[in-house]
């Protein structure tokens, strides 16, 4: 993302709305400026701010006049008065920042918006996590911290070494050059993104081992991690296997997303064949 210096009036509204804090008023040019290293191309500024199309010269003159008399003015905080944002035509590898940061852009690898994952929310039609299995979503960078791919790789390496299976339909998995080792592409290591989710599935008896592994590795990863654990309920809708393990590990279970099981496979048969089962240990 770039800000057109000919249009910007340095009102400062955009400096507050950037989730990464990557926009600042450059005192040398007195215009809002994007720190390209920290910008994750989430487009929160461009998509979230309402846009006016005022004359920049007029607005700057008024701002100077108000400033001279120390008059406090009160602009709406969610408006760019001169529509000064100029989205760039992003090229590889920078474009990967937007794919993982702007939730409106579907991931090419999965066709899913947001973080590009379906997890257990479609488990009633995919059968991805079965009874006796546990699905983990290990999310990096959220909320409001961001993460570099080389940090994520610390975790994928450790998980691969532990012999877990990465979810095939996952944007991070699609960026691995070697799924067996959890190695991500070299050319994206220096890219920063808003967040990403690593998905794995293991037999339920490995739940504690995986959580302890994540806790160990996260100490070396320079961001926050949000851990999600998906489990299949029994025929009566109860889940009395994974929850107790998590509580035993000290987690207080407060919130969950619950798949109500109302989904049905309705696509033509040839398009809805089940995925081959992934090897798990």
């Amino acid at each position: 993302m770039r800000i057109n210096p000919d249009k910007c009036v340095a009102c400062g509204n955009c400096t507050y709305v950037c989730p990464m804090g990557a926009i600042y008023i450059d005192p040398a040019i007195k215009r809002a400026t994007v720190d390209r290293n920290e910008c994750v191309e989430c487009y929160a500024c461009f998509n979230g701010l309402s846009q006016e199309h005022l004359n920049p010269t007029l607005v700057r003159t008024l701002r100077k006049l108000f400033q001279m008399v120390r008059l406090r003015f009160d602009p709406e905080p969610d408006v760019c008065p001169t529509a000064a944002f100029d989205p760039e035509d992003l090229q590889w590898p920078r474009v990967v920042r937007r794919a993982f940061s702007d939730p409106r852009v579907p991931h090419e690898s999965t066709g899913v918006q947001g973080r590009g994952t379906e997890e257990v929310k479609t488990n009633d039609v995919t059968g991805r996590v079965k009874e006796g299995e546990v699905g983990f979503t290990i999310e990096f960078g959220r909320p409001g911290v961001g993460v570099w791919f080389h940090e994520i790789q610390k975790m994928t390496w450790a998980l691969a070494k532990a012999g877990v299976a990465f979810e095939k339909k996952n944007p991070i998995t699609s960026l691995m050059t070697d799924v067996a080792t959890g190695t991500l592409r070299d050319d994206i290591q220096g890219e920063k993104i808003l967040s990403a989710i690593v998905e794995i599935k293991v037999p339920v008896e490995r739940t504690e081992e995986i959580i302890r592994l994540v806790r160990e590795v996260e100490q070396q990863v320079d961001t926050v991690i949000a851990l999600g654990v998906g489990a299949r309920c029994d025929a009566s809708g109860e889940e009395n296997v994974v929850g107790p393990i998590l509580e035993h590990l000290g987690y207080k279970l407060e919130r969950a997303k619950t798949n109500a099981g109302l989904g049905r496979i309705t696509n033509p048969v040839e398009e809805s064949q089940p995925e081959p089962a992934q090897a798990t240990r």
Binding site: Y16, V17, G21, G48, L49, S50, Q51, E52, H53, P75, E76, P77, D78, P103, R104, Q113, E118, E119, V120, T122, D124, V125, T126, V129, R142, P143, V145, L194, E218, V221, D222, T223, V224, I225, A226, L227, V229, G230, A231, R232, A235, G237, E239, G243, Y251, L253, E254, R255, A256, K257, T258, N259, A260, G261, L262, G263, R264, T266, N267, S272
Partner: protein, 225 residues
């Protein structure tokens, strides 16, 4: 929709936060899903949702691409549910947000009866979702537990800011904006309703809960956490 899973707060604090969403799965049930997604949203209206949204076009409160200067004195602060429903043009996740359990239960019951064939999820406290499913006569299929935030948690803001920002799990509501809105409400420069509206416009999929956010801001006016 992991973006609703990791909302910050304890179970009791989700008493006014029920997100029910419909999602078609690629290769399984996305064919012909657009009318069903629209119907899902349409069915939510009688139960007075506090927000509706789709993951591509956003929620019921949206920014303007061409705002007139006079709009500052008469900005539209009301959610436009009809625009959300009419805007669904691609198979994607759609969501209805409620601020009470009874509405969520009744809506889920209606969705079950409609038999849309879409994958339906409830995101709230574990007990709250269980009660909704029970009231609708549905045995739960799967559960995705949130274990909260770990790792470098020293990088996170205070709990009030975190509660406001994590209601957009895609991270589109910045820490700085949430802090600024808390300050503006404390200063009396904006009402909680106005501050919530500003923040909700940044949520790109419409799962932001304005009702809960207003409560948090009212609370933040007098209490520092």
């Amino acid at each position: 929709m992991t973006n609703t899973l990791h909302r910050f707060g304890d179970a009791a604090s989700f008493y006014d936060d029920y997100v029910i969403f419909a999602i078609p799965s690629r290769g399984k049930n996305e064919k012909g899903s657009i009318p069903k997604l629209k119907k899902f949203l349409e069915m939510a209206l009688p139960f007075k949702p506090v927000n509706l949204g789709d993951a591509i076009h956003g929620g019921a409160l949206r920014p303007s691409r061409n705002m007139h200067p006079t709009a500052h004195w008469k900005r539209d602060m009301e959610p436009d549910f009809r625009a959300v429903i009419e805007g669904v043009d691609t198979p994607t996740t759609v969501a209805a947000v409620f601020d009470n359990r009874v509405a969520a239960e009744d809506f889920l019951t209606t969705v079950r009866q409609a038999d849309l064939g879409l994958c339906i999820n409830v995101s709230t406290s574990i007990d709250g979702a269980e009660q909704c499913c029970h009231a609708a006569g549905i045995p739960r299929h799967s559960v995705g537990y949130s274990l909260g935030f770990q790792g470098k948690t020293e990088k996170l803001p205070n709990s009030q800011v975190l509660t406001l920002t994590t209601m957009c799990g895609h991270g589109m509501i910045s820490t700085s904006l949430a802090k600024k809105m808390i300050d503006w409400v404390k200063e009396g420069r904006r009402t909680p309703e106005q501050a919530v509206t500003y923040m909700a416009r940044f949520c790109s999929c419409g799962v932001y809960n304005p009702s809960r956010a207003k409560r948090i801001l009212e609370d933040a006016r007098t209490k520092i956490k």
